[in-house]
Amino acid sequence: MTDRLTTRPEQSVDDAAPEIVVIDDVSKRFVLRKDNSLKERLTGLGRGKKHREEFWALRNVTASISAGHTVALIGHNGSGKSTLLKVIGGIVDPTSGTVSRRGRIAALLELGAGFHPDLTGRENVFLNASIMGLSRSETESRFDDIVTFSGIGDFIDTQVKFYSSGMYVRLAFAVAVHTDPDLLLVDEVLAVGDEAFQRKCLDKIRSFQEEGRTIILVTHTLSQVVELCDRAILLNKGEIVFDGEPRDAVSQFRDILEERRVSEVDAAGDLTAPPKEARINVVSAKPAGKTVGAVLEDGEDLVVTVQIDHYEAIEGWFCGIQIDSTLGQVVYGTTTKRAGVQLPAVTGPQTIELRLDRPQFGGGKYFVNVSLMDPTGRHFADLPQGTSFDVAPKKKSAGTLYAEPVFSVVTD
């Protein structure tokens, strides 16, 4: 993937830009009913609230978004971000509080919603465009652009039910971006489609940014947040916990995810059978000479310490250490065997230290997995994601690998 940091268009957003969305103390309560027919309701009448369950998807959310910004809503599943997007779009009414808005809006909550399978692509384009607020003559004048952008070609006069899912999505996206919205709401749709299509979406979003359009997007792809947005709102349990720089929001979000993961691991840990041969007690990772939790800066060594309790002495065992990105992709991995180090077969506690000589990680959070293996390669103790460490964000590049970029213009 190319570096997008430097290509992010400068959004000429001055303080004079008008507010386009004002969210004022919005709360949303959902009531879940478990009975849905008349009979169930009548028989359940006497038992009161047994069949009702309520929860707050949003609690006292207040924010104001100025025109021209690209704002990401992030948070884990169930944090209320999609609900907030729907409230902004007017699809769901808030229980209390108000949302005010101006300008033309297009919502891409689900590509192709509103396509009728029995109608042709052409008929659906007109229907969908009119749902998004375009008049017939406006649609007619843009029709050729829409078809060209979608790449559907002659299939435009075929019933949509015969379309492949890719064609369906392309046509829907083409309609949505040609409705000239001032405000575009996007929910996870950038994850749909093949790579070429995704690139087309992203390019379109960039040109939207240059044209001063406002975009609010919900996404789980944190790299997109940093690349595309100039503001991020982090939601947790229906409340705004952070609102500001995307980088800071993403790192806070990773902390929340980490907390959740730790508590889940703790909960799961009680269930596993006690280990026979050995147990990995503690894994820690820190910059050399600093305390655990310190951010790894440029040029510092990384020290990973593994404390093991051996119950049986195993001849020829070895230890593997692997470093993953937040997406679970292996960034680095080594074993004592590869490194040519013999480990003593003992019982009782033992500590192993791995020192990485000035690693060139990109900015972000990384996880450390540790495995102990016998000579045949069988794992006898594992500690996946035993610890994590943070690498200072890099100004000049994105991705998990860092190298100093040196550009020059080549002249023959």
Binding site: P18, G68, V87, I91, R102, L109, G114, E123, I131, G212
Partner: protein, 300 residues
């Protein structure tokens, strides 16, 4: 458009509250305005309904004719001939078809309207639209079928040599208005209720079957009068807006009964009163719809 020009255009617009969250709920007038601004989409929705209904069928729109003609055939043969209901009713076929045309409009508006919100759940969950357009689109497609049926009726009576050409023809307009206003009112209410309680859909089917027989469509008003007399029961029967509209239709289109048929006194006035009450109901039910629609997206 440059970013700056866009900002300037935006800052000239007023910030508007989204959805029905404004303190007293959206007023009916505002709702009407919003629907009016979506009228093009409304017509597209009606067309979509009509197009998709008979898409891929060989006979296509002919099916819209086959159903009422079959109904006419059954009532004419079974009720008219076998049960000899036609004895006191001259031109019985025209009589029945007139009533069926009127009733068909109402039942199609209410039946289609009730299912409209649930049937369009895909759209409602993903895009904001004034939700009233869906029951209104059912009104549109019902009207389309109605016009076809009306055309058949007129051709039919022309062939029989009794084309409805009399001052009584003007009873047609208040009658249609009464049917439209009641159909729309109940279509709105029931479509919203159906979201929360799917039983409504089936209940409506049963009620529509019942109402068909509660108005003088296949029998005559005077037959009922002969049995109920002039008491309260007869008043209730007569002032049923469907009965009034059906009677109005018969007065307008059924030439065979011009000389002999008996109509309640002051039919025009009754229709007028029914229309006003219908309007009040329409406004009322629209408010109910407005209150309920805020939770459509999550209830579907």
């Amino acid at each position: 458009m440059s970013a700056q020009a866009r900002f300037e255009a935006l800052s000239r617009q007023k910030l508007a509250t989204v959805g029905a969250a404004s303190p007293s709920g959206r007023r009916s007038i505002a709702a009407l305005k919003e629907i009016f601004s979506h009228r093009e989409m409304l017509s597209l929705l009606v067309r979509r309904d009509l197009k998709s209904r008979y898409k891929d069928s060989a006979l296509g729109f002919l099916w819209t004719l086959i159903r009422p003609l079959t109904q006419l055939f059954i009532y004419y043969i079974v009720i008219g001939k076998f049960l000899s209901a036609e004895r006191g009713i001259p031109e019985f076929a025209v009589y029945v078809f007139t009533g069926l045309t009127a009733y068909g409009l109402l039942s199609e508006i209410i039946g289609g309207g009730t299912a409209s919100i649930v049937g369009n759940s895909g759209l409602i969950k993903k895009v904001y639209l004034p939700r009233e357009v869906f029951p209104l689109a059912s009104v549109g497609s019902a009207l389309f079928n109605f016009v076809i049926q009306l055309a058949i009726l007129l051709i039919f009576s022309a062939i029989l040599g009794s084309f409805p050409w009399s001052p009584d023809f003007f009873y047609f307009f208040p009658s249609v208005l009464v049917l439209l206003v009641y159909g729309t009112a109940f279509g709105l209410l029931l479509s919203a209720l159906n979201v929360y309680l799917r039983d409504i859909q089936y209940l409506v089917e049963v009620m529509l079957l019942l109402l068909l027989w509660a108005s003088p469509i296949v029998y005559s008003w005077s037959m009922v009068k002969g049995i109920l007399g002039n008491g309260l029961a007869m008043q209730i029967y007569t002032n049923n807006p469907i009965t009034l509209a059906v009677l109005g239709f018969q007065k307008a289109f059924w030439m065979g009964g011009q000389a002999t048929a008996e109509y309640p006194a002051g039919l025009g006035l009754r229709l007028g009163i029914a229309f006003v009450i219908g309007l009040v109901l329409l406004v009322l039910f629209q408010r109910v719809f407005q209150r309920l629609q805020g939770n459509f997206a999550q209830a579907l």
